[in-house]
Symmetry: C2
Subunit: 143 residues, 2 copies
DNA sequence: ATAATAATGATTTTCATTTTCAATTGCAAG
DNA sequence: CTTGCAATTGAAAATGAAAATCATTATTAT
């Protein structure tokens, strides 16, 4: 899903919820949709302010909350005490590996792992609807 | 490893680090070692204060930091905005599966998953030192 | 016993959110 | 096009968990 389509999904979410559309929110959302990093609120605010200095922190905060609710963004905690937001991935779910030295984040996906997870859950009588897998270690640059 | 042995590990950790042993820290540690829930600082403080009202938040905080450093406790974030501490498991590392309806937490371990994680990381040039795997779903009681 | 240093506990500070509030804006009905 | 109501905004204040400060107390090696 590209930025344009995400914008449409957002519009219809706003409509269903009886909310109103505003230039600020549209711009923040659009800016976020065009990022592909795991961006923090501060980083996004800085990015947004470059073109629209008037926008405040609270509006960015509220917009990201809205995007998270609507499923267009994923909020993640990688242990550095900051929430980071990730765009809804093109090609389905993926997991993360985080460098504990430089904080670089890489992504990976392994179908076999997912399958083993399901099996492990089943053994305990659980049904999995979601999961979070994060590996922490050193990236190639940090040995 | 039982509470007594953990206490000994703590003692030697303290010794190696050139720290001093105190009644407060021993009591906090002992109290923690005897819990088997994922306890928060506030909960632990409350528990400790029942027998030793004089102990302050900061001491509990610092003791849990020490236990985490020494590997005797594991700090976890389950997304409720509070750090929770878990005792070093008897039988090595395990992962968690959390019921999204009743919040029940079950534990499991799968060596094959760990191995696949290592491989996935290696493919990206990373070295894994730690990981976090959480499955979210429904427990047997919640369908 | 003494000196050096770590620990304690109350308090303050930090920092990332989260909320408040007055002013503004969007939108639907008339 | 106006009007009124409800949502939105941005600045500022509040919140809350974690971390730091600091004067006092306690521990340990000598």
């Amino acid at each position: 899903m590209d930025a344009v389509n995400k914008m449409e999904v957002l519009k219809s979410y706003i409509e269903t919820k009886g909310l109103k559309s505003t230039a600020q929110r549209d711009f923040i959302a659009d800016t976020f949709f065009k990022t592909n990093t795991h961006i923090s609120l501060d980083e996004l605010l800085k990015k947004v302010k470059r073109k629209t200095p008037g926008i405040g922190y609270a509006t960015v905060y509220r917009t990201m909350k809205l995007l998270t609710e609507s499923g267009l963004a994923i909020a993640r905690q990688f242990g550095d005490g900051q929430t980071r937001y990730e765009n809804l991935p093109e090609d389905g779910h993926h997991d993360h590996i985080i460098c504990i030295k430089c904080s670089k984040i890489a992504e990976f996906h392994n179908q076999k792992i997912e399958q083993l997870q399901m099996e492990a859950a089943k053994k305990l009588g659980f049904t999995v609807v979601n999961h979070k897998l994060e590996l922490y270690g050193y990236c190639p640059d940090c040995v």
